[in-house]
């Protein structure tokens, strides 16, 4: 169970990072959210067998993470945590897709290639998202989404969910620990799982009621009055347009291929 507690602490690590100060942290959240969304869109837009064209896209998270002083171990761990989902999505490709693709003089199994492509996309997108949150904070991301037109009811849901995920996880930790103490090593059976989940739900429900009372007690009348959003400055515009241009360029020009043909040209 120590593992569970560790995960809890790690979740909080992102918030600690988000409260730091760096060139990336100081940018307007809207600019960062837009660039990251655009990045994800472009990465997703590649053909299913594309690998080489995706590689230069690592540039964005690498630069963003380095300037934002995000520890790579943390990003790596997050990516590894999500990778099983990508594995599940892509694992059948090598078995179902038996065609071959020629790359230069090599012939490769298309199934394996698309599998690698899926993993790479996942890693790039999750990495970029983790770095976004680590340099912007969940709050900043929510505020940006709201300013960009997402209805407030959604952004508040996300913000409250994020706030209470810790409380909920702690509650889960306590319940499962209490069970383990008396389980004498017996694994969790389905019937027990039901009552654990049930009592967790009831506790959560109670908590939600108390939080709502707390909000009402401080004059909440159904509308959140957030802090004033930061001003969108010139450097935010430059950041947005700059990355936009670079990303479009990377999407249009396959850099590894270009390098290869350049090298070939030089060699011949």
């Amino acid at each position: 169970m120590a593992n569970f507690g560790d995960h809890l602490r790690e979740l909080g690590a992102l918030d600690r990072l988000a409260s730091m100060d760096s060139a990336i942290h100081r940018l307007d959240p809207r600019a960062k959210v837009l660039v990251t969304l655009f990045y994800i869109l472009l990465v997703a837009s590649f053909g299913r067998y594309e690998v080489s064209g995706l590689l230069p896209f690592a540039l964005f998270p690498v630069i963003q993470g380095t300037l934002g002083e995000v520890p790579w171990g943390l990003v790596g761990k997050r990516v590894l945590m999500v990778l099983p989902f990508a594995l599940v999505l892509g694992i059948l490709n090598p078995f179902l897709d038996h065609s071959t693709v020629l790359i230069g003089s090599w012939s490769l199994s298309a199934g394996w290639l698309s599998f690698v492509s899926i993993l790479l996309r996942f890693a790039l997108c999750v990495g970029a998202s983790v770095i976004l949150i680590a340099t912007t904070s969940m709050d900043g991301v929510c505020m940006a989404l709201e300013r960009l037109g997402l209805p407030r009811v959604f952004t508040i849901q996300i913000a409250l969910l994020y706030r209470y995920v810790f409380v909920l996880l702690e509650e889960t930790l306590r319940i499962t620990r209490a069970r383990e103490m008396r389980a004498n090593g017996r694994p969790l059976v389905l019937a027990e799982y039901g009552s654990l989940a049930g009592s967790l739900f009831l506790r959560t429900w109670e908590r939600a009621r108390r939080v709502h009372i707390a909000m009402l007690s401080r004059g909440f009348e159904g509308e959140f009055h957030g802090a004033r959003p930061p001003v969108f400055r010139l450097k935010d515009g430059v950041y947005l347009l700059g990355w936009g241009a670079v990303l479009i360029l990377l999407r249009l020009v396959n850099l590894p291929h270009l390098l290869e043909s350049l090298l070939k040209g030089v060699a011949s």
């Binding site: 709050d139 409250l160 409380v167 908590r207 007690s217």
Partner: protein, 250 residues
């Protein structure tokens, strides 16, 4: 008109399942008084507290804050006047940073941003946690959370402070610091607690509840000296009024 008065008149509350939680309470707390509300578990303390800012409304009888009766129409005014500090700070701190949390109330009052910032700063300074303003609440220790919860209420500039178990879950030092802090507040205070030693330190007057009724209302020391009353209400004398465990002397 003083908002600092807190009055219950024949206050009754019956829950939807038929439980009679409050059975005709009468009391009046005056300007600047610091009053304790004690009673065993299930005596009706929490139900009473929820009536004081209109979270629950009476089945019969009334609660008055100053000259204003608590009812649906007056809730907005009542909630600004009566600041409620919850037992579990995690229920009270729901925003992503301490600053945002303390600013929540003043923003709901519709104050301009500069005033909100000033109020937050003053409230945090009052409870001596200005340096924690930008921390997320779940990163705070128990004592810090309690202070932050109090700050969220102070920023609304309430006239009456209602505290539910303020010392629960605090280590002895944090508890002592909290008592020192509450002592300095000039608000009218009602403190529901099981910590009778805290009551001795903070409150000159005590209300004793048992099974939804008010069993006693009087000077704290007199009430705590009444062994028969305490016994009947499932309470015990505060430690500082009990005899020495070694020699038995008081």
């Amino acid at each position: 008109m003083s908002h600092h008065l807190l009055e219950a008149i024949q206050l009754c509350h019956r829950y939807a399942d038929g439980t009679e939680a409050l059975r005709g309470l009468d009391f009046c707390i005056h300007h600047g008084e610091s009053v304790a509300l004690v009673g065993a578990n299930g005596a009706g303390k929490s139900t009473l507290l929820q009536h004081l800012n209109g979270t629950l409304l009476p089945t019969s009888g009334a609660v008055k804050v100053g000259e204003v009766t608590v009812c649906k129409e007056t809730l907005r005014d009542i909630r600004r006047t009566v600041g409620m500090v919850f037992q579990d700070p995690d229920d009270q701190l729901f925003m992503s940073t301490v600053f945002e949390d303390v600013a929540f109330g003043p923003r709901n009052l519709g104050l301009p941003a500069a005033d909100v910032a000033l109020r937050v700063q003053q409230a945090l300074a009052r409870v001596e946690i200005g340096h924690l303003a930008h921390k997320p609440p779940f990163r705070l220790s128990g004592g810090e959370k309690r202070r932050a919860a109090i700050a969220t209420v102070l920023s609304m500039s309430p006239d009456v402070l209602v505290l539910d178990e303020p010392s629960a879950g605090l280590d002895p030092r944090s508890r002592r610091q909290l008592i020192g802090l509450l002592k300095e507040f000039r608000h009218t205070k009602l403190i529901a607690t099981h910590d009778l030693d805290l009551v001795l330190d903070l409150c000159d007057r005590t209300l004793v509840m048992h099974q939804g009724k008010l069993m006693a209302d009087g000077p704290t020391r007199e009430i705590f000296a009444d062994a028969a009353l305490l016994e009947a209400c499932h309470l015990e004398k505060p430690f500082s009024m009990q005899g020495c465990p070694v020699c038995g002397r008081t």
